[in-house]
């Protein structure tokens, strides 16, 4: 995502093995975290094999899957606790700032 695309929604992909349960719960918590950061984002959830052929700005998955997803997005976040919305918010905040996708207040 380029900075001059600032009106474009951030494309976020949450990924798990089957693409039905864990990734869906992670998607809901990622939506909560992004909303508290004030980031406009489209979050989708999917399974590992589909994810490999997809492209996004940010991909979020369990650490054990993160290496496999390196080519999917410039930002790959490893999450251990899928229910820790505040931890997810902090990781997103740091990663989006590092990319210049989240400005200072």
């Amino acid at each position: 995502m380029n900075q001059n695309d600032s009106n474009r929604q951030l494309q976020v992909l949450t990924v798990c093995g089957v693409g039905m349960g864990s990734s869906l719960i992670l998607r809901m918590n990622a939506e909560k975290a992004l909303s508290t950061l004030g980031v406009s984002a489209k979050v989708e959830h999917t399974d590992m094999s589909s994810a490999r052929s997809m492209r996004a700005d940010v991909v979020i998955a369990q650490g054990m899957h993160a290496d496999d997803l390196a080519g999917v997005a410039p930002v790959v976040l490893s999450i251990s606790n899928f229910m820790d919305v505040d931890g997810l918010r902090r990781q997103l905040d740091e990663a989006l700032r590092a990319q210049g996708w989240l400005g200072d207040e």
């Binding site: 798990c16 039905m20 349960g21 650490g63 054990m64």
Partner: protein, 152 residues
């Protein structure tokens, strides 16, 4: 809302289950759904296969695993079950082991479960896992899950 509804999710539970290892725990977590007729017995094997194939990623948060397989693996009805273990088991998750609570679900298609899991996530954020862990018996655990379903 309180009227019997053929489309309402099947809710089931088991408390104080002895499981020797994670495979036994996943099987135990699926058994209430098999007993309720919501999934075919083979669903249990497929839930174990999912962990074998993809790793213990479904250990979502410390102590809690979400067991499920695909709609084509023998799901008859949308369903949700909670199972607590007397002794926690190791799944091999780097941070969230050991697991003492399993939530199993089954969805008859790729979308029927979305609302249910949304509510489940909300209730987990509001402390459902500990309510289930503290449930002294099956009836109390089912009642806790029914609050999730009633919220749909």
């Amino acid at each position: 809302m309180s009227e019997p509804d053929d489309d309402a999710p099947v809710v089931a539970a088991a408390t104080g289950v002895n499981a020797a290892d994670w495979r036994a725990a996943v099987r135990a977590a699926c058994q209430p759904l098999v007993d309720a007729g919501a999934v075919e017995p083979r669903y249990t094997d497929r839930c174990v296969d999912m962990v074998e194939e993809h790793g213990p990623y479904m250990v979502l948060t410390p102590g809690l695993a979400l067991a499920h397989a695909r709609p084509t693996d023998g799901v008859r009805r949308l369903c949700l079950a909670a199972t607590t273990l007397t002794e926690p088991v190791m799944f091999g998750h780097p941070d969230n082991d050991p697991v003492d609570l399993l939530i199993a679900f089954g969805s008859p298609d790729d979308s029927s479960h979305i609302g249910l899991l949304q509510k489940l996530a909300e209730h987990l954020l509001a402390g459902l896992a500990d309510t289930l862990r503290d449930a002294p018996d099956r009836a109390r655990a089912i009642r806790a899950l029914e609050t999730v379903v009633a919220d749909l």
